[in-house]
């Protein structure tokens, strides 16, 4: 089975983020980057499916040159090869078009990606990708079961709904699934994996201007820290003194202890 995993590179969790001079995006200087967390779960699921059904796992990512590092890390975890679409665009529809163009020639049996990104957080690249590839999709997936085991033709998934409800959905392959965090335990790259990854192929696709991407229809005009409308009483400084003040407030003002 050929499985493609679309991954995104995002700033390292808990990085101190600053707005850029234009006020339209973050200042990316001096930032470190890593794989978007839900995409890491998508990759893990792909690797486990390969263990069960055989075949290969291809990771694909759109972004600037630095993205190749995150692809390499996915290869070190066990993906077989990578595709890097070298682009500066952040626009969801444009990125999905680029991914779709590259995946059309690969014709995978299954496309996995995380349910949303930690930066833009639109939560739709996978679903848009399905539309552009003409494939069925399902989202916020907690469990993937390929049937039959030796000759995959359909997939049965457990989809998360609100308030602790779930639903099973079945659809024919090829299909696109967006994966929820937490469905598997993530593996670490082994030393052997890191060594092997150096020899694995990363195909770089550079845009020559002829690519068939639509104009962006949603422009980030301004990125800014939300206005503080903090009504609460916030203490800082010495932890002991702050804790004492808080305990007093909880006892005499809120009367909850």
């Amino acid at each position: 089975m050929k499985i493609a995993v679309a991954i995104k590179q995002v700033p390292l969790r808990d990085s101190p983020l600053r707005i850029n001079a234009a006020g339209t995006w973050i200042d990316e200087d001096n930032l470190s980057f890593e794989i978007n967390e839900p995409d890491a779960y998508a990759l893990e699921e792909a690797l486990q499916l390969r263990e069960k059904h055989g075949g290969e796992v291809i990771v694909i990512s759109a972004g600037p040159a630095r993205v190749s590092q995150t692809i390499r890390e996915a290869l070190a975890k066990g993906a077989d090869r990578g595709i890097h679409i070298d682009t500066a665009t952040l626009d969801t529809l444009q990125v999905a078009h680029l991914l779709a163009a590259a995946l059309k020639t690969e014709a995978p049996d299954l496309v996995l990606t995380g349910l949303q990104s930690d930066d833009l957080g639109y939560g739709q690249t996978g679903v848009v990708l399905a539309e552009l590839l003409g494939l069925p999709s399902s989202t916020i997936i907690m469990q993937v079961e390929i049937q039959p085991v030796d000759q995959p033709s359909k997939v049965r998934v457990k989809r998360e709904l609100e308030d602790g409800w779930f639903q099973h959905i079945e659809m024919p392959l090829p299909a696109v699934l967006t994966i929820q965090s937490g469905l598997n335990k993530l593996r670490y790259a082994t030393l052997m994996g890191i060594k092997k990854a150096k020899a694995k192929e990363i195909k770089v696709i550079t845009l020559d201007g002829g690519a068939d991407v639509p104009p962006a229809s949603a422009i980030i005009e301004k990125l800014y820290a939300p206005e503080k409308n903090q009504q609460g009483q916030i203490f800082d400084g010495d932890p002991k003194a702050a804790a004492a003040k808080l305990a007093e407030k909880l006892r005499f003002e809120a009367r909850v202890i």
């Binding site: 409800w165 079945e170 937490g182 301004k222 990125l223 400084g237 702050a242 909880l250 909850v256």
Partner: protein, 283 residues
Amino acid sequence: MSVLAIVEQRMAGEVLAAAQEFATSLGVGVKAYSIDLPYTADGYTAAAEELIRKVNPTLVVFGHTYQTRDYAPKLAARFGRVLISDVIAARPPVFVRQMFQGKFNADVRLTGDGPHFVSIQAGAWKAEGSPPAETFSPSSTTSRQVAEPPFREAARAVDLTAADIIVSVGRGIREKENIPVVEALAQVLGAELAASRPICDAGWLPMDRQVGSSGQTVSPKLYVAVGISGAIQHLVGMKGAKTVVAINKDPDAPIFEVAHYGIVGDLFEVVPALVEEIKKAKT
């Protein structure tokens, strides 16, 4: 021209209120429909496409539900558009949404001809009156997805909704071995221990102790959020608490926006100190 509200049972009143606000600001009317079809992604995409071609709206509004997330991006792509998802405020054609997990807000401007597509965040608009939505029956109902009826996992071992006091722990706890730090606080307060999603994903606490959109929705008298940054998925599960206390090292963490009391500091210093203070107060 009009604003088209596509409603489901969940968030219907809020979606209608938002659609009305957008329509007023654009100087057009509102049309509201629910789709008369058992849900599948393919079925709803085709039905909504048919409905949009019939109504010809300039803007289509949804609630940002799990169902919308499953098909509306596909629908928008069919019209060459991006769904502006999880919107919290608007001055059409500019819509405000959170990015970087609530750390920043972004003003997103829609350009080009409609229809454009927007989904609104739960709780961002107040539902008004009863929703007068019409029913739309699509001409085709084919779908590649076959959906089974929704189900719940075996009964929850822990009912957090009944708890008066909840101490909830997030990523700030860093590793499983540190959970006893917050357990001590829960114990001295006589509280149930709960967690944000990443803690349950990692298996550090069982899934039935998760508070948030995919876990339990709680409204205790006291909710103490320890090392929880306050992503929207968590906030929707605990905003109803009478008193919210936040302990976090990041003064800009969104959790402080909903906190009545807070301490900015290292939880590994603050929580043990708080345990001592509460012990003192209780004797």
